[in-house]
Symmetry: C2
Subunit: 191 residues, 2 copies
């Protein structure tokens, strides 16, 4: 079973290099991306939505042209381990998610996924072996249609300098930047 | 002038491979990450905050161990082209941002940054040459201190199966998942 263009072992190496360690969630995410890609035409130009910010986005960034910085990957973090791939133009696509019921047949994956085993007691080698063996068997998928208003590009209307903090910000945010409007960033600055 | 461990040309290749094309924002972001790293001890274990979701996060993901999927990179999108690197434990760190005033000396960068030139009329080769020549000269930096409550790890309290949609979700979200609570995702599902 391939994960995108990679063998399981090569994908594990890619994950270590990018994500810092072999996270089971990124490996499982790799199978999910692969399933999604099979639903799209080979030449499809697609965007991706991740329904969790954990692990999944890195599988997408490793296996597709979609990154968080180029905007083709979006995270709508509702905490569900699911992703959506869709044609940029038509909005036709597929959602792939982990099927909770099917996890019952894979006790180690089930215990990891539902956080029933403390990390210190996890046997990671066996967990990864189960994820490899389960592959796409624990996943579900369904066709979806993206809402037209979400597809439309929100073009920037220009950049202004904030009259309060003197930093550039997008004009559509208002007469000052969001921080000067009260959005609290979690740091104090020593100028 | 190096960008992290890379020459300017090698970094451009890395950006093309990951981001899909040589985005001036990712190149500029590369200089910003490099400046930030110089403020931290060589062995520092640090997290990153991007104040914009555009381009910057990809520079961080290419040049640091911090990715969106491993959680060491966070995006607090207030639309300002700035990033913060800080020690995971102490919260001491640095903010790096583009200094709007200094852009006046670099007309092509200024026109690109403030979106004064339509993309079709941009001379991208010259723009990239100016960004390379300007390097860190158009940046500013200052020490910051992260708020203690932001540093504390928010550990998951467990995963439940949502009684409505039957999908797993984090228990701290409530008695159902966020979607079943009314968070609208931009697609319709055909089961």
């Amino acid at each position: 079973m391939q994960i995108g263009p990679y063998s399981f072992e090569t994908f594990c190496e890619k994950v270590t290099e990018f994500h810092g360690y072999i996270a089971p969630g990124v490996i499982l995410g790799g199978f999910m991306v692969s399933v999604g890609q099979q639903f799209l035409p080979a030449d499809a130009i697609y965007d991706v939505i991740c329904e969790s910010r954990k692990c999944l986005p890195d599988a997408v960034q490793l296996l597709t042209p979609c990154t968080i910085g180029n905007g083709w990957l979006k995270i709508l973090d509702v905490g569900r381990f699911a992703l959506v791939l869709y044609d940029k133009n038509s909005g036709a696509g597929v959602r792939v998610w982990v099927d909770a019921e099917k996890l019952g047949q894979w006790p180690m994956i089930n215990d990891w996924f539902f956080q029933l085993t403390p990390k210190s007691l996890q046997n990671k080698t066996e967990l990864l072996q189960q994820i490899q063996a389960a592959g796409t068997d624990i996943l579900n998928s369904a066709k979806i249609q993206i809402a037209p208003e979400f597809l439309r590009q929100h073009k920037h209307q220009g950049i202004l300098v904030c009259p309060q903090c003197h930093e550039p910000y997008p004009v559509e945010h208002g007469t000052t930047c969001k921080v000067c409007q009260g959005f609290r960033l979690p740091y104090t600055l020593h100028r």
